[in-house]
């Protein structure tokens, strides 16, 4: 980035297809937090999906087309922020490689990459947010989704903000950094292996005896919530930004027990 940052940066919200379809309340919680962090939020209507289903299925052509569409959609924003480490990682780390051979778009992909952030790390690392104004009475544990953790280094930021939520007791479960078995199309292509993985995750989560299981990626959350509910375990599952924004009026993911 060149030049001084505007005092009220224009943040383009990359909603992510799962939040758009399954859980818009996460999107609104994200908007609330971004506004609290002094940003003005825009939501380009021409965005759809980051293209990971195609990219991870080996379909480079469709993935590249979606990458170009996304880059164009966010051309005017100071930042592009997504409530997902996985989608943010796709935009930030994979678009440049995907479009490397495209003379017209490779520069734009690199330029976009500079502006892309996952939401919680953006709040803490870029906007300097240290506390949130929210409350939750109970025990919460946080699952580190793989892309956010390993591609973007998201580990301390959500825990730091959760630490400021009134009456929330943050506890760690075993193997918080181990994959939940979602993996996008993996969960559909290899359901049995995916199930074995989410079984372990559900067992680890339940063993920590939390009231609330949190994470930063809706795919992982749907997977874990679906398993916990199937097993009849009384753990509520929510996206971390819902708690940080104090937006808890909607049912938890996969309903409540």
């Amino acid at each position: 980035m060149t030049g001084p940052l505007p005092s009220k940066p224009r943040v383009g919200l990359f909603v992510t297809c799962l939040v758009d379809l399954m859980r818009p309340s996460v999107g609104f919680a994200a908007v609330k937090l971004l506004e609290q962090a002094g940003c003005s939020v825009e939501v380009p209507a021409v965005q759809t999906c980051c293209g990971q289903p195609a990219y991870n299925s080996g379909d480079r052509a469709d993935a590249a087309a979606l990458a170009r569409q996304t880059i164009a959609a966010f051309a005017g924003c100071d930042y592009v922020v997504a409530p997902s480490g996985s989608c943010a990682g796709m935009l930030k780390l994979h678009y440049p490689g995907l479009l490397a051979g495209d003379a017209e778009w490779s520069g734009k992909a690199k330029e976009l990459a500079e502006r892309v952030h996952e939401l919680v790390s953006f709040l803490v690392d870029v906007r300097g947010m240290e506390t949130v104004d929210a409350e939750f009475k109970g025990r919460a544990t946080y699952h580190d989704s793989c892309s956010g953790l390993r591609e973007l280094g998201i580990k301390g930021q959500p825990r730091r903000l959760l630490g400021s939520v009134k009456n929330l007791e943050l506890i760690e479960m075993a193997d918080a950094e181990v994959c939940c078995g979602f993996g996008g199309t993996f969960s559909v292509k290899y359901p049995d292996i995916s199930n074995a993985m989410v079984e372990k995750k559900a067992a680890n989560a339940a063993a920590a005896k939390p009231d609330l299981l949190l994470a930063g990626d809706l795919g992982c959350l749907m997977n874990m919530a679906g398993k916990l509910r199937r097993e009849g375990r009384a753990v509520q599952v929510r996206h971390v930004v819902e708690v940080l924004a104090g937006e808890l009026s909607d049912l938890p993911i996969a309903g409540s027990k």
């Binding site: 909603v15 297809c17 939040v19 758009d20 379809l21 399954m22 859980r23 818009p24 309340s25 999107g27 609104f28 939501v43 209507a45 021409v46 965005q47 759809t48 293209g51 289903p53 195609a54 991870n56 299925s57 080996g58 379909d59 469709d62 979606l66 569409q69 793989c146 892309s147 390993r150 591609e151 193997d175 950094e177 181990v178 994959c179 078995g181 979602f182 993996g183 996008g184 993996f186 969960s187 559909v188 292509k189 290899y190 359901p191 049995d192 292996i193 995916s194 199930n195 074995a196 993985m197 989410v198 919530a225 679906g226 398993k227 509910r229 199937r230 993911i253 996969a254 309903g255 409540s256």
Partner: protein, 475 residues
């Protein structure tokens, strides 16, 4: 070795249903994974060493022809006979010829993944030669007629009870009433049986963790000492090693050794690291009278000009499989060929073809833990994705999956239409599922709902609600 990669899904299903196997795999996280983490914590330079190790291998691979020639020259000067094998079949022929020339009746073997790759044992046995695996895990696997399920812990899929049953079945010359309830008793019995083999062997075959160009040495790393007995007691020592095992100097080996054991088992260094150079010297009272090295290509040279060159950095520590949640769920045999886990998911399609091993690179969540722990910093997920791309180009994945993917991509590239379709789908699903919050089953979502509920959407899309909010309507 024959492959069973094409039946990966069935293999995996069977592995998940195998209670014995699941018990055996349950110890991985608290064993090898925890040990590696502790070893890494004890050596603050560990992460820097990974960069250095990667650079050493990258440099070597970029000059591979030259280092192999230098290795050969120095090994030959020390009295080694160096053989080159372009294919697995050629390597088997060379080794069989060496064994025949030596009049071998009994061959002992140290652990060698390359010998598994070329399917050596069957050929030797067909020629009437008794072949005995001496690494304890390899021995356990051999007496069951199985293959290794892990590259450093070949019998990790077996429980102690299974070993006891096998020993009682096989070692019939020993008293029936002997007690074998402790691992130490089982190890003692294997030691006794295999000691006789070491002493009687004509030829000892080992692999090599490294070939050192500077000195013409081959290097093996073990904890049991079986490789040393294999190579010191037989008249003839045969080393079989693939081309990428060469490194320039002993300093380079030293650096990589600092990574190998720590990554593999969490040891500071494996118990035995042995550098062998040529046959025994005239004044030596022991050691092999002849020393052969078989350098195998078997498809690797073709990887050098591709993105897959990076996988040739692999030092076979096994850390990627120890940390892989998919490996942890299904074990090594499900992968269907010599190399399981993430490294196998990259190497196997490169060596036997992506169409016959397409499931391997596809069966990953790309969680990235393998790359995170790889001492050679091999970008395993990226390379798996390359295989997926090649497979997709060649028409891989089921017809239904491809059609679904193409339809979705077509729609996703048309935002206006996409948002209309999304609104309709979400409204329908939301209406059906909102009351309970989730679906126990749903048409076309059987893969998901067989094992878990599918959370119901909230009923309206974010874009729809955002547009309303912008237009001034309350949410």
């Amino acid at each position: 070795m024959k492959s069973a990669t094409e039946s990966f899904k069935e293999n995996a299903r069977a592995a998940l249903d195998d209670a014995q196997l699941q018990r055996a795999l349950a110890g991985l996280p608290t064993g090898l994974v925890a040990n590696r983490a502790a070893a890494r914590a004890r050596l603050p330079e560990f992460e820097d060493l990974r960069d250095v190790g990667r650079d050493i291998k990258d440099h070597t691979l970029a000059h591979l022809d030259l280092y192999l020639e230098l290795y050969e020259r120095n090994a030959t000067a020390a009295g080694a006979r160096v053989h080159w094998a372009a294919t697995a079949a050629e390597a088997r022929e060379i080794i069989l010829r060496i064994c025949r020339d030596a009049g071998a009746k009994l061959v002992t073997k140290g652990k060698s993944m390359i010998s598994e790759e070329i399917g050596l044992n069957a050929d030797l046995q067909a020629a009437g030669i008794e072949v005995v695996e001496t690494d304890l895990g390899e021995y356990l696997v051999q007496i069951r007629g199985e293959t290794p399920s892990h590259i450093i812990a070949p019998a990790i899929h077996l429980t102690q009870d299974q070993v006891e049953a096998d020993f009682r079945r096989l070692h019939t010359e020993l008293p029936k009433e002997r007690v074998l309830s402790e691992p130490s008793q089982l190890v003692g019995e294997a030691r006794q049986i295999l000691r006789e083999k070491f002493l009687a062997a004509d030829v000892g075959i080992t692999g090599a963790n490294f070939l050192v160009a500077e000195t013409g040495s081959s290097v093996i790393v073990t904890n049991e000492g079986n490789g040393d007995l294999t190579q010191s007691l037989a008249r003839v020592h045969v080393v079989v090693a693939s081309i990428e095992k060469v490194v320039p100097t002993r300093e380079d080996v030293s650096t990589i050794l600092r990574l190998l054991a720590r990554s593999a088992t969490g040891q500071e260094l494996s118990t035995y690291t042995t550098f062998s150079t040529g046959p025994r010297r005239p004044e030596d009272p022991d050691g092999p009278a002849a020393y052969h090295v078989v350098i195998l290509d078997n498809g690797r040279s073709e990887m050098l000009g591709t993105a897959f060159r990076e996988v040739l950095r692999c030092i076979r520590c096994g850390a990627c499989m120890n940390h892989c949640p998919v490996y942890g769920a299904i074990g090594g045999h499900a992968y269907g060929w010599v190399y399981p886990g993430p490294i196998g998911s990259v190497l196997t399609p490169s060596l036997i073809g992506v169409r016959s091993a397409a499931d391997l690179p596809n069966a990953s969540t790309f969680c990235g833990r393998c790359e995170e722990v790889c001492p050679m910093k091999i970008p395993l997920p990226k390379l798996m994705r390359h295989h997926r791309e090649a497979d997709f180009e060649l028409g891989g994945s089921s017809r239904g999956y491809r059609i679904g993917l193409k339809l979705w991509a077509w729609l996703a590239r048309r935002p206006r239409l996409y948002h209309v379709a999304a609104r309709m789908a979400v409204a329908l699903l939301g209406a059906l599922g909102r009351r309970r919050g989730a679906f126990r089953s749903l048409p076309l979502a059987g893969g998901w709902t067989r094992h878990r509920d599918l959370p119901a959407p909230q009923g309206r899309t974010f874009q729809q609600l955002w547009a309303e909010r912008k237009a001034g309507a309350p949410r």
